[in-house]
C-alpha cells in the first residue's frame, strides 16, 4: 500500500520534471529567437552607470576622528575639547630596576587591537572592474562604465559615458604617469590631493606646463606631481588632443 503510493508519487514527480524541462527549453527557445535577446548588446545601446560618487573620506581621509587602527594621520585641523579626566590616585611601588623609569607598574596589558590590513584600495578595485569591462566588451560596442572614481565632492557625481577606447587609453595613461611619479617618502600617509590639467597633442606629448587646478596644501607634494606628469610625457596617444585632468593621491602605506 505504502509502496504503491510511493511509486505513484515518483511517477508524478518524473512527469513533472519532464514537463518542467520541456517548458524551460521552450521558453529559452522563444527568448533566443526574439530580437530583444540579441539586441541586448546592440551597438546602438548604451549601458548607463553612475559615476561612483565617493565620500571625500573614502579616498582622502578627513580629520574627523576615525577608529584608531584604520585611521590615516592627518595634521590636526581643529581644537578638540579635552577628554574628561578620570583621576584615580593610587599608590604605586617604584620598580626595583633603576635602569627603567619608574613608570612601569605591572597591570596586565590588554592586547591592543591590531590594525587590520588595509582594505584593497578602492581605486584599484575600480581599476580591476574597468579592466574586466574593457576586456570582455566587444571592441566596436561602446560600453558605458564608471570611468573613474570621483576623488572628492568637487569632482562630483554624474553619468559618464566612456568608450572602451577612452577607457583603455585612460588605463594606459594612468600606468605611465603612475610609474613616472615618485611620491616623496613621508608623504604617503598624509591627506594630500592635487588636481592637474594637462594639454596633450595628438601624439600624447604635453603641450606647455601642467596646470595645477587644485593644490594639496603641500607645495613640495604639488611639485612632485608636476615633476611626475612632466616626466611621463609623452603619454600614449589620446583619443583626442586637448585637456585631460589628473588627480594625484599619495598611497595609503600598509603597515
Amino acid at each position: 500500500m505504502r509502496d504503491g503510493q510511493q511509486d505513484l508519487r515518483k511517477r508524478e514527480f518524473r512527469r513533472f520534471v519532464r514537463w518542467s524541462a520541456g517548458a524551460h527549453v521552450a521558453v529559452l527557445g522563444v527568448v533566443m529567437i526574439s530580437p530583444g535577446f540579441h539586441s541586448r548588446f546592440d551597438a546602438s545601446q548604451v549601458i548607463a552607470v553612475d559615476l561612483v560618487s565617493l565620500p571625500a573620506s573614502a579616498l582622502a581621509p578627513s580629520a574627523a576622528p576615525p577608529p584608531p587602527p584604520s585611521a590615516k594621520p592627518v595634521p590636526p585641523a581643529e581644537e578638540k575639547p579635552a577628554p574628561p579626566e578620570p583621576p584615580k590616585p593610587k599608590e604605586v611601588v617604584l620598580p626595583k630596576n633603576p635602569e627603567r623609569e619608574p613608570q612601569k607598574p605591572k597591570p596586565e596589558a590588554k592586547p591592543k587591537e591590531v590594525a587590520p590590513k588595509p582594505e584593497k584600495d578602492l581605486d584599484d578595485l575600480l581599476a580591476d572592474m574597468r579592466k574586466d569591462a574593457g576586456e570582455t566588451a566587444p571592441a566596436p560596442k561602446p560600453v558605458e562604465q564608471a570611468a573613474v572614481p570621483a576623488p572628492s565632492a568637487a569632482a562630483g557625481a554624474g553619468t559618464v559615458k566612456v568608450s572602451p577606447e577612452v577607457l583603455a587609453w585612460m588605463r594606459k595613461a594612468k600606468l605611465k604617469v603612475r610609474s613616472a611619479w615618485v611620491v616623496p617618502p613621508g608623504f604617503r600617509r598624509e591627506t594630500l590631493e592635487t588636481h592637474v590639467t594637462v594639454e596633450l597633442d595628438a601624439s600624447g606629448a604635453l603641450v606647455g606646463d601642467p596646470k595645477i587646478t587644485q593644490r594639496s596644501g603641500n607645495p613640495w607634494y604639488d611639485e612632485s606631481v608636476v615633476r611626475g606628469i612632466t616626466k611621463a610625457s609623452p603619454l600614449p596617444p589620446p583619443p583626442s588632443a586637448g585637456e585631460w585632468d589628473f588627480v594625484f593621491l599619495p598611497e595609503d602605506a600598509s603597515l
Binding site: L51, A63, P86, P87, L94, G156, V160, W181, H195, V247
Partner: protein, 450 residues
C-alpha cells in the same frame, strides 16, 4: 547637436524614445566627461634617480682623491635620505665632471633623461687656506630647470665627508622642502664595553664614539637644541641616579643640579635650551620639575602623588607631554609647560609610555604594550588620529624624532639583542643603524648642525 537616427532611417516610437534617452545621457555626460579625472595613486618604494657629477676641483693643488671621497660620501648621504638612488657613472651620456656652474650654463637635459635621471647634481669645491668652499646646482631634468643653487664656506679643516653630507641634506631640501639628516648625530646607550655608557654616532650609524667612560650606569641621553651638550642620567656618583651634562660648548659639564635626596631620572631640554624638565623620584612617587641650565630655579610642574615621568616638550615650548599612572596604569597626558591644564591623550591600550613630540609638532610617537612587548604608535596632539608605526612580535621602544620630523630612531629587540633602527614617518624605509656589539638603547636624535 542632432538626433542620431538608427540605421535604416525608420523612426519608430522605440527608437525615438531611445534617442531621447541617449540625448539626455549625452547631455549630462559631455560636461562630466570633461572633468572626469584620471586618478593616480603613488607607488611604494620609488626614489628619484640622481646623476651626481664629479665636482670640479678649483683648489691648488688639485686632489683627485678628495674629489672621489667627496663624491662617494655625497652619493651615500643622498641614498641615506631614502629619497634618491644614484646612477652609476658608467651610464652617463653627459659629462662626468661639472664643466660650469655659471648662471647661464645650460645642460643637455635629454642626455640625462635618457639614462633615467630625474635629477642632476653639479658642483665644484675649492680648498685652500681660507676654507673649504663648495658650490652646487641641482637640476630637475624632466622639466629641465634648476631647483637649487647654493654655495657656502666650511672651515679649512672640514673633511670632505662632512661637507658632502651638508650638500646632500640641502639637495633633499630641494625636493622635499625639509633638509635631510645625514649630517646629524644620534646619541644612545650601549653596553658594548661591559658598562652602560653614552655613545654618539653619525645618523647613518657610522663613526661611533664614546661620550661617557665612567664605568657606571648611564642612561637617557638628551641633546641641547644647539647640539653642544648632552644631558644624561648616571650612577657615577654613588647608588642614586643623578643628572649630568656632557658638553662641547658653553654649558658647564658635570652635575646639573644638587641632590635633594631624591633620584633624578631623566632630563630633557626645552626647545630653546634655556630650561630642562627633570624627573625626580622619592621611591613611591615621582614628579616633573623644570630647572635652568645651571641647575638653579627649580620649579614644580606636576603636583600629584602618582608616578609622573617621561616629559617631552612641544616644539613651541608651551606644552609638555608626559606619562602618569594616576588612573592605575601608565597613560600619556599633555599639560602646559608651567604645569596645570592637564588632559589625558591616550585611551587605547592599557600601557602607554615614552612620548616623543615631533619637531614639527604634528605627532607624538609613543610606546604601547601589546602582549608584553612594546610597539610604537603615532598620535596627534589632539588625540584624533592614532596609528601604528612599528609593530613586531619583539619590543620596539624609545622613539626619538629626527630634526626634520621625517624619520624616527628607536630601539628594538627583533634580532635578539637590542639595536637601533630608523624608520620613516609613513612606516617605510626601515633600516638598522647598529649591530656590531652589545645592546643599544635609548636613542636621542640630535639637532641639525649649526
Amino acid at each position: 547637436m542632432g538626433l542620431r537616427v538608427p540605421a535604416g532611417g525608420r523612426i519608430t516610437l522605440r527608437s525615438l524614445a531611445a534617442a531621447l534617452l541617449a540625448l539626455l545621457a549625452v547631455g549630462a555626460a559631455a560636461r562630466a566627461q570633461d572633468r572626469a579625472p584620471i586618478v593616480i595613486e603613488g607607488g611604494k618604494g620609488k626614489t628619484y634617480r640622481i646623476a651626481v657629477q664629479r665636482f670640479a676641483d678649483r683648489s691648488t693643488p688639485q686632489s683627485d682623491e678628495r674629489i672621489t671621497r667627496f663624491r662617494e660620501a655625497l652619493q651615500n648621504a643622498l641614498e641615506f635620505s631614502g629619497l634618491f638612488q644614484r646612477i652609476p657613472e658608467g651610464a652617463f651620456l653627459g659629462p662626468l665632471t661639472t664643466e660650469s656652474l655659471d648662471d647661464g650654463a645650460q645642460i643637455a637635459c635629454p642626455d640625462w633623461t635618457q639614462i633615467g635621471a630625474d635629477a642632476l647634481l653639479q658642483g665644484e669645491i675649492a680648498r685652500d687656506a681660507q676654507g673649504f668652499r663648495v658650490a652646487f646646482r641641482v637640476w630637475d631634468t624632466a622639466r629641465c630647470r634648476d631647483l637649487m643653487r647654493r654655495r657656502y664656506m666650511q672651515n679649512a679643516t672640514a673633511n670632505p665627508e662632512d661637507v658632502a653630507r651638508r650638500v646632500a641634506d640641502d639637495v633633499v631640501e630641494a625636493f622635499l622642502g625639509v633638509k635631510g639628516v645625514s649630517s646629524t648625530e644620534i646619541a644612545f646607550v650601549s653596553d658594548r664595553s661591559g658598562n652602560k655608557e653614552i655613545y654618539v654616532m653619525e645618523a647613518d650609524g657610522s663613526n661611533v664614539r664614546k661620550a661617557t667612560a665612567n664605568r657606571s650606569i648611564n642612561n637617557f641621553p638628551n641633546w641641547s637644541p644647539d647640539g653642544q651638550a648632552i644631558a644624561y642620567t648616571s650612577y657615577r656618583q654613588g647608588n642614586r641616579p643623578l643628572i649630568f651634562l656632557s658638553s662641547r660648548g658653553k654649558l658647564r659639564p658635570g652635575r646639573l643640579l644638587q641632590s635633594d635626596g631624591r633620584s633624578q631620572y631623566r632630563a630633557v631640554f626645552d626647545p630653546v635650551g634655556e630650561r630642562l624638565a627633570v624627573v625626580l623620584s622619592n621611591g613611591s612617587s615621582s614628579e616633573i620639575v623644570s630647572v635652568d641650565t645651571d641647575g638653579k630655579d627649580v620649579r614644580r610642574i606636576t603636583q600629584s602623588q602618582s608616578i609622573e615621568v617621561s616629559p617631552s616638550w612641544s616644539p613651541d615650548g608651551k606644552r609638555i607631554a608626559f606619562v602618569s599612572d594616576r588612573t592605575g596604569a601608565p597613560q600619556i597626558y599633555i599639560m602646559s609647560a608651567g604645569g596645570g591644564d592637564e588632559r589625558r591623550l591616550t585611551f587605547d591600550g592599557a600601557y602607554n609610555t615614552n612620548p616623543a613630540w615631533s619637531p614639527d609638532g604634528l605627532w607624538i610617537a609613543y610606546e604601547t604594550r601589546v602582549e608584553g612587548q612594546f610597539d610604537i604608535w603615532l598620535i596627534d596632539p589632539d588625540g584624533k588620529v592614532n596609528v601604528p608605526l612599528v609593530t613586531n612580535e619583539r619590543s620596539d621602544e624609545a622613539p626619538s624624532w629626527a630634526p626634520n620630523s621625517r624619520h624616527i630612531v628607536f630601539s628594538s629587540t627583533r634580532r635578539g639583542r637590542a639595536d637601533l633602527y630608523m624608520i620613516d614617518r609613513d612606516g617605510s624605509n626601515l633600516r638598522r643603524l647598529t649591530g656590531d656589539a652589545g645592546n643599544n638603547t635609548a636613542p636621542a636624535w640630535g639637532p641639525f648642525p649649526p
